[in-house]
Symmetry: C2
Subunit: 346 residues, 2 copies
Amino acid sequence: MIYEEPTVLNLAVPVKKALSIPASITPLADHTARELAKVNDLILSRTGSEVALIPEVANHLISSGGKRLRPMLTLAMAMLNGYRGDAHVKLAASVEFMHTATLLHDDVVDESDLRRGRKTARIVWGNQASVLVGDFLLGQAFRMMVEAGFMDALDILSSAATVIAEGEVMQLATAKNLATDEKAYLTVTAAKTAELFAAACEVGPAIAGRGAAERRACRVFGMALGQAFQLIDDALDYGGRSEEIGKNVGDDFREGKITLPVVIAFERGDKEEREFWRRAMESGDLREGDLERAIAILRRHGAIDATTARAARFAQDAHEALSIYPDGEMRRALAQAVDFAVERNR
Amino acid sequence: MIYEEPTVLNLAVPVKKALSIPASITPLADHTARELAKVNDLILSRTGSEVALIPEVANHLISSGGKRLRPMLTLAMAMLNGYRGDAHVKLAASVEFMHTATLLHDDVVDESDLRRGRKTARIVWGNQASVLVGDFLLGQAFRMMVEAGFMDALDILSSAATVIAEGEVMQLATAKNLATDEKAYLTVTAAKTAELFAAACEVGPAIAGRGAAERRACRVFGMALGQAFQLIDDALDYGGRSEEIGKNVGDDFREGKITLPVVIAFERGDKEEREFWRRAMESGDLREGDLERAIAILRRHGAIDATTARAARFAQDAHEALSIYPDGEMRRALAQAVDFAVERNR
């Protein structure tokens, strides 16, 4: 499962008034608000097609929520690196389209019924439309990149497209396989989730004409932030560090997705616990009370805390990557977004 | 259904020795043989991935046949327009990857079990792998386009990617809908099939630095050739003009795909025949002997001949488009490929 932001930002609501954005991501949203409004306009116009089903399916997902974190990162990184043109708007919209295309295909691959609390496009319009509208959005993403006119950005984002697909295929192999260790798991998340964050960030210095050091710093920042997000998402899927078991918990467990909390608990578990994980996740033989038992085992072994600690180390890497830039509002906004990524796990 | 060439060219067999290539496409294959060998090497190397499933799925389809007609067109058009560099090889491989990605997704969308006489990837490895490996190949296609370094070619091919997806979505709407008329049908085939032929041809003059007249001529040639191919394919699916009903006939009929022969026969049919088409194709209530009855009705109304005649008009358009080029071996080879497109319907 690709990381999905839990809060909702309606397309029609100006970013500044969207009070549902958590506090620490607000500075980033504020500093990119004007450009993000242009990105949203572009997204709406580029889902247009004479084929009515295309905007219908695309907008079902695009306007259903999501904080536009990835395009915000493209805008912020371009600005942090002193970019003065308009191309970052098209590239940010491209990044969001790549993300949306991945989600449409992901829901088909995972046979998911719900996303962001709504029926998935494949449930409403079928797998066929989800696959094909995903392809359309991917095509539109590349068209906008071409219009932006930077060969470096095209290079970064087309490479990301292949890496993301590789990560998704890798995930097919690790799913329902408890032999997955932490290293193998983080290799999958780096490709399927964090790569798009990394690419979204790297295009900023690339179009600003900055050198290898800045491109590397922004890429490392995005990669680390993406990994932190994914790990916290994995922890939240088992209720995070909260004592209560909330709603929307247990999706990964029910789908047999081996995530870091389970990898850790399986490694630390005794014979009986390992039998439990194998039955529930590898064989998919789920019984009443299994989720509660899984969460109890995860807590007993400190697997949620260990996952959160791993995310915090990635967050630290992200902070360090920013250190080549002088202190300023945009750098601070990016740093606060990193803290938000980890601290929502409360 | 996307047009699929019926003959087989094994990747390991040098093009000149592949005697199964029909006579009239041989000149085109001969004149592009050296470059096509490079395209095949590139294709093999770019399906490579550390994720073992990716080359496995990709090569199942890529090395299973197909005459590489689309990449051959890119090579031929670049050479016809006096291009002297290496970029046409990468662009030709990109075109073949776009085509392969479309086929992988198409088989998922159509729930097809067989292609080129072999089990489809989705039957062997599942829909998940087919969707994701298609995405991977699309990403690799764009990476090769970026490496080729021509913004014009990127523009042409990324636009084609969106048009193809639009065509596939349009087809979802026309499938099982007997209200489809000839114009609506040809709009779908122009997008889903002929657009890639048109784009494959247009990149030739674009990278050779030729002007709008040449780009337009090559694009019109590809579009007309693609339409002719698709219509003949539609006719062959009902046995073409042969008196006998061969093997591999009736796929479109069984899948409820309304193609031009059926559009024509439905328009020319009486009340009883229209009821038959509605029952068999819209309701999918297929009975013993229905295919034979369908073919008999198509022949009674001359629907196969009318479809072939429409294809011949497209072929004429393709020939005329070539007329801006002076007579020469490559122009003649391209003209012979057009004749092959129509004449295989015997």
